[in-house]
Assembly symmetry: C2
DNA sequence: CCAACTCATATCTCTCTGGTTATGAATAAA
DNA sequence: TTTATTCATAACCAGAGAGATATGAGTTGG
């Protein structure tokens, strides 16, 4: 059962794809051509990566004539933030349990 | 050049491996056997996943007799947190630039 | 209308990796 | 000292996916 975390992690796992996303975060809206110019891979490869990013909700595309403009959707990162703080939460919960245990032992 | 983000994202991209890490966050230290019991894959598969997690610094292992106890190393997640806030930072920087521009235009 | 441009899709290849079974090393128990 | 248990490693297999090239659809400019 591939949940939302799954898609996010898998999408961001590829260095080329993550670099494209980072670039969109830095520079804002960019065309496929502009992205391809610095991606180090072919234009079809970039298009495929953009497709995956779009599928994951990480980017938005805007058609304008014969070129497509892509921009990052930062909100799509929130499941990742949630997951991280959830892990930290588990950690702290266990720490609290330990404290409770010690407190009870102390009585 | 696979940086630290790379290893983290790639390591956490696999569902089975991420589930193992989540379990270690929830339940604390666990043996390979205990992890295997609920992993849904064979023991060698679990061992391999633990090896990858250890390589990424996400887990620690402690030998005790014939069993190995693994525990999560939450601190290894900080590059991930850093990356996320960096992306958000880029976003805000661009927003600030826009505000500056508008402010200058307003004069 | 025709030529050039921008991007997406189709197809193929090849590598990477997550899974398995088999096995061995180390430790504990009988 | 055997026997059983726990885990890691080796070898192998199959599927996924990231890359390339080829091509076509849609758009702009001459």
């Amino acid at each position: 059962m591939p949940d939302s975390h799954d898609m996010l992690f898998r999408t961001l796992a590829d260095p080329t794809r993550r670099a494209i996303f980072e670039r969109l975060c830095r520079d804002g809206e960019l065309t496929v051509g502009a992205l391809t110019a610095q991606a180090g891979v072919s234009q079809p490869a970039v298009s495929k990566h953009l497709g995956v990013l779009k599928q994951a909700g990480l980017v938005r595309d805007r058609q304008a004539g014969r070129q497509t403009h892509y921009s990052a959707q930062l909100g799509a990162l929130s499941p990742l933030i949630d997951w991280t703080s959830q892990m930290a939460g588990f950690w702290e919960a266990r720490f609290d349990d330990l404290e409770d245990l010690l407190a009870r032992m102390d009585q």
